[in-house]
């Protein structure tokens, strides 16, 4: 109940912000009868209507994970964000060992197996990508090994 109400409210606020920024779109000399704003504004209005429906007629409460699971999920997101930043400067192998290992540990908490999974996936996938599919992946940080 509450989840859907909050969700509806968030969606309405976001839709209002979306509509507001739609009105900021500069008009161009290439004018057409509809213009650049109409469609986004219409989409925003439908979102607001949907949001109102959620607030008036919410569905049952979804099964949210407990606090520990939220922690694990947040950690996984942090790992993936770090991986996004690391992939280019650090090369493929090292960040992948960490990311794959940590994710494996989050799914099945067995440290030894997770370390193995990290190394195995990193090296195995690198060989597949680089030599099997011919993608130009950097194995190590640039300048370290050429």
């Amino acid at each position: 109940m509450a989840s859907d109400r909050i969700f509806g409210l968030v969606m309405i606020l976001m839709a209002l912000a979306y509509i507001a920024s739609a009105f900021q779109i500069q008009t161009s000399f290439l004018a057409d009868p509809v213009g650049s704003k109409t469609f986004p504004v219409a989409v925003g209005i439908v979102v607001i209507l949907c949001g109102l429906v959620f607030m008036v007629k919410p569905d049952g409460e979804p099964e949210w994970p407990d606090l520990r699971t939220w922690g694990r999920l947040a950690f996984a997101v942090a790992v993936l964000v770090a991986y996004s930043y690391a992939l280019k400067p650090m090369g493929f192998l090292v960040p992948t060992v960490f990311t794959a290992g940590l994710l494996a540990y989050q799914i099945t908490p067995k440290p030894a197996a997770a370390v193995m999974a990290g190394f195995g996936l990193s090296v195995g996938l690198f060989i597949v990508f680089r030599y099997g599919l011919g993608l130009g992946l950097q194995p190590f940080p640039k300048g370290l090994l050429g």
Partner: protein, 502 residues
């Protein structure tokens, strides 16, 4: 005859050794993707698109590879349904109902062979149907102007949201989220930036592949972290595989009936394979004399949904190829592939790029035979693969997603965006918001807006132009009906479990 010369052209494309190899690889990967719980056809195809693209495959090869994966996934889904009572993908849900009881009675091999043959019959039927119907529909599609296309896009969103979801408002919201995301970037008509907030990364808009991989593959990783991988495949056993000729012969009509039902369900925009297998199962139950054995391991109840879902999978390709409007989640992903390859689906595809269309159809026929061999005599290999632990599978999927998007765009911003879509997809799934309309919105948003604006340019701003032809009016009525009708039909649909007890 036209058809045969077209087919000959198709086979001349599809029978080249390289294309043939791609079809076999695609079938193999597809069956694995379908069989592994947590890796359905949509996210399986989604993570492979960037890879196919960076490998520099040409349009036909990429299409052959990925439609083979698509067909393969429809075959593979049944394996875990029968052996583990976990559908490998959504359309295979109905196969659990009688497939698993058969496995419990020690008839797992029989169920696998029978459902493999049923899959073949369904897929073959649909491929032939596609061959015959698609060119006809493509001819009708020439009559479509911008007003009709606008109504058609609306129809796709309405039926997809109406049939596939439990809550119309949430489905409508999902479509709007997709449309709203599609607006980001330069406006096609006026050339002005929209919703970029001065961020250069957003100027080109959001790449739909980033969104698809994030929403499907990365979100799935979060779901698995939450569930602790408890759906892992432990204790899969399959002793011997014998071919139950008698059972197969006894289910011939079942397979054909179900293929017809599935095919029709597949053509309807938004319905897709899940509905196809559901309707095929219910239809078979309605006409059979031994209704009470359904749900306890009746072989015909295994054959029906499998023929239905594979037939629907083929049928769903028809609206995608002829109109550019996908009929299901996975065909939406395949549409993303076409757009990435700079192929605009629609009636002109059949005249301008016949080698693509007929090459595709020919390789679907080939893929079917390959899949029959893989899924009947070689099914044991896939049963082995089912025991891959989630702790290897899901991180593997993540890495493939990252590498795919990274090699496609080379930008860390897109990787961050993909993670953001993953988080958003996880939350929306929890809240019961379907993800497929979002994808469809992102894919079709700009086309839909362009159709509207071109229609208004043609009519000089007269909005009644949108309802000016019979085709357009028909599409509007179908759209409204498709969105509203499921509210009343909900008691009948979407509750297969309840339908079993009465």
């Amino acid at each position: 005859m036209d058809l045969f010369s077209n087919l000959a052209l198709g086979f001349s494309v599809a029978l080249s050794p390289f294309t043939l190899m791609l079809a076999i690889v695609g079938c193999f990967l597809g069956t694995i993707i379908g069989a592994l719980p947590g890796l359905g056809p949509s996210n399986g195809v989604a993570i492979l698109i960037p890879l196919a693209f960076t490998m520099g495959l040409d349009a036909t090869s990429a299409l052959v590879l990925l439609t083979s994966v698509y067909y393969g996934a429809m075959y593979g889904g049944r394996i875990s349904s029968i052996l583990l009572n976990i559908p490998g993908d959504e359309p295979a849900m109905m196969t659990c109902l009688d497939g698993y009881p058969m496995a419990q009675q020690g008839k797992a091999g029989e169920a696998l062979v029978l459902s493999g043959v049923a899959s073949f019959v369904g897929a073959m039927f649909a491929t032939i149907g596609l061959m015959l119907l698609a060119p006809l529909l493509a001819r009708v599609a020439y009559l479509f102007g911008p007003a009709e296309y606008f109504a058609l896009y609306l129809l796709a969103f309405c039926t997809l949201g109406g049939i596939a979801s439990k809550n119309q408002a949430k489905a409508a919201l999902a479509a709007c989220i997709g449309l709203a995301i599609a607006m980001i970037g330069l406006d096609n008509t006026s050339g002005m930036p929209r919703f970029t907030y001065g961020n250069l990364h957003l100027m080109d808009g959001i790449d739909f592949l980033v969104a698809i991989v994030g929403l499907f593959a990365i979100a799935e990783v979060f779901v698995f972290i939450e569930s602790h991988g408890r759906d892992s495949a432990v204790g899969v056993k399959l002793e011997k595989v014998i071919i139950p000729w008698k059972t197969i012969a006894g289910s011939t009509w079942t397979m054909l009936r179900s293929s017809v039902i599935g095919f029709i369900a597949g053509i309807l925009p938004g319905a897709g394979a899940s509905l196809g297998s559901f309707l095929a199962y219910m239809g078979e139950r309605a006409v059979s004399k031994d209704k009470e054995t359904f749900g306890t391991g009746n072989p015909r109840a295994v054959a029906a949904p499998e023929a239905g879902n594979n037939s629907a999978a083929g049928g769903a390709l028809i609206p995608m190829l002829t109109l550019g409007v996908p009929g299901s989640g996975t065909t939406a992903v395949l549409l993303a592939l076409l757009l990435t390859l700079n192929i605009t689906p629609g009636p002109t595809l059949f005249t301008d790029r016949p080698e693509v269309v007929w090459g595709l159809i020919a390789s679907l026929i080939i893929a079917n035979f390959v899949l029959l061999i893989m899924n009947v005599p070689m099914v044991k290999i896939f049963v082995k693969i089912l025991s891959v632990p989630p702790m290897l599978l899901l991180p593997g999927v993540t890495m493939v997603s990252f590498v795919g998007i990274y090699s496609l765009t080379g930008s860390y911003f897109d990787l961050l965006l993909m993670v953001a879509f993953g988080v958003g997809g996880y939350l929306l799934r929890k809240l019961g918001v379907p993800l497929v309309p979002i994808i469809l919105g992102i894919l079709l948003g700009n086309y839909m807006e362009d159709a509207l604006r071109r229609a208004m340019v043609l009519s000089n701003g007269d909005w009644s132009f949108l309802f000016s032809s019979y085709i357009a009016i028909g599409l509007w009525i179908a759209a409204i009906g498709g969105f509203v009708a499921p509210i009343f039909l909900r008691g009948l649909f979407a509750r297969p479990k309840a339908g079993l007890t009465d």
